[in-house]
Symmetry: C2
Subunit: 195 residues, 2 copies
DNA sequence: CGTCTATTTGAATGTACTCAAAAGCGGTGG
DNA sequence: CCACCGCTTTTGAGTACATTCAAATAGACG
C-alpha cells in the first residue's frame, strides 16, 4: 500500500505541493480496489460516483453502439486517472464501460469524500480542475490527429503515448481505438515489421 | 441590442433561472463585437481572455498544422458559445484561429468580469460549468463518430446538427471538418443528390 | 486435450486520395 | 457595368489504403 500511496502522491505533486498532513488527510479517503482481468471497473448504465487512480494494470474505456460493436475510446495504465467525468459530475448514468485488460489495482475516492477534501484542502480543487482541462485538451488533440492522420500515424502515436501497450491489450481493442479493423491492423504491423 | 439580449437570456435560462435584476447585472458586462466575414474573432498566439455568445453569423475554429494545412475543428452559429476554453482557463496562448465565414456579431464577456459575475450571482458558476461539460461530451461523441462512421455519416451528422451550414460555409471548410478532401466532398454531395 | 477466441493471410471490393484540368463564382478595378 | 483575376467547385483517371468475407493458424484457458 505504501508504494501505491507514494505513486499517487508523486502524481498529485506534479501539479500542487502537499504537506505530509495534507496528503494524509486526502489518503484516508482512498479505497483500494482490485479489478481482475476482463472484469469491469464501471459498467454502462451505472452512475460513476468516484474517480480512480491506477496504481498497476491497464483499463480500456469503450461504448457499445446500436449494432453491438465495441468502440474503444481510451487506454489507461498505471499513473492515469480514470472514470467517466460526465457521469461523475452530473450524476447521470454512464454510457461507458471501463474494463481491465490485465489484473489491475485502482485507488478510488468517492464523490462525497472528494467534496470533503475540497473543503479541507482547497488546492485539490485546482488539481482536479487542471486534470479535467487536460483531458479536454487531449481529446481536442486526438480529434485533430484523427482528422487527417493515417492509421499508421495513429498507431505510432498510441505506442508512443503508452509504451508497450501492444503487449498489454488485444489487437482488437487497439484496432478499435485507432478506428480500423483487426485485419487491417495485422497487415499494418507486418508492414512496419518488414522495414 | 434588445433582441440580442433576449437571445442570450433565453440561452442561459435553458440551464438556470434568472430574475430580471440578476440578468441586468450580468448583461452590463457584455460587450458587443462585430466580426466581418473572413475576419478573426481570435488568432492563434493570442490569449483568449473572454468567452463569446454568437447572436448572428457563423464562426469556424481551426488550427494550422506544421505543413500549413488548415484543420477545421468546429462550426458555431447563432446561439452558440465560442472561445478557446483551454487558453481562457490557463491564460496560455491559443493554438486556434476563430474566423467568421459571414458577417457575425458576438456578445463577449471578459474573464475578469466573469469572475465578478460569479461573485455576485453564484449560479452562473453552475451555468458555465455545465457549458464546459457539454463541450467535453460533444467532443467524446465526435471521437466515437469519427472512429467508425463513413464520411457520409459525418456529413449528414453535421448537417443535422447545424441546419443549412452547407450554405453558410465553404465546401473546403466542411471537407476539412469531416476529414476528407474538398474533391471527395464534391463527389459525396453529387451521390447524395442523385438519390 | 479440446474448445473458443484472436490473429494472420488471401482475394475481391469499395472508398477516398492525388494530380490535373475545366467550369463556376465573386470581388475588384477600369 | 463589364472584363478579368483568383479562388472554389466539379469532374476525370489512376492509385493507395482499408474493408469485407472466408479460411487457416495460433494461443489461451479450463
Amino acid at each position: 500500500m505504501n508504494s501505491r500511496l507514494s505513486l499517487i502522491r508523486a502524481n498529485i505533486e506534479k501539479l500542487i505541493v502537499l504537506s505530509d498532513s495534507e496528503f494524509d488527510t486526502f489518503s484516508k479517503y482512498l479505497v483500494l480496489r482490485n479489478i481482475p482481468k476482463k472484469h469491469k471497473f464501471l459498467s454502462a448504465g451505472e452512475v460513476c460516483n468516484y474517480t480512480g487512480f491506477i496504481t498497476s494494470g491497464c483499463l480500456i474505456t469503450y461504448t457499445i453502439d446500436e449494432n453491438g460493436a465495441e468502440h474503444v475510446i481510451q487506454f489507461a495504465v498505471e499513473d492515469y486517472w480514470i472514470g467517466d467525468l460526465y457521469s461523475f459530475i452530473t450524476g447521470s448514468e454512464s454510457a461507458y464501460n471501463i474494463e481491465a485488460t490485465e489484473d489491475t489495482t485502482v485507488l478510488i475516492i468517492h464523490k462525497n469524500d472528494l467534496e470533503k477534501v475540497y473543503e479541507q484542502i482547497p488546492k485539490f480543487e485546482r488539481f482536479f480542475r487542471i486534470l479535467v482541462q487536460r483531458s479536454y485538451v487531449a481529446l481536442q488533440h486526438r480529434i485533430t490527429l484523427n482528422q487527417r492522420g493515417t492509421a499508421q500515424d495513429k498507431y505510432e502515436n498510441l505506442l508512443q503515448k503508452i509504451k508497450g501497450i501492444e503487449l498489454r491489450s488485444t489487437q482488437k481493442h487497439i484496432a478499435s481505438y485507432i478506428g480500423i479493423t483487426p485485419e487491417s491492423l495485422s497487415r499494418l504491423k507486418r508492414k512496419l515489421h518488414n522495414k
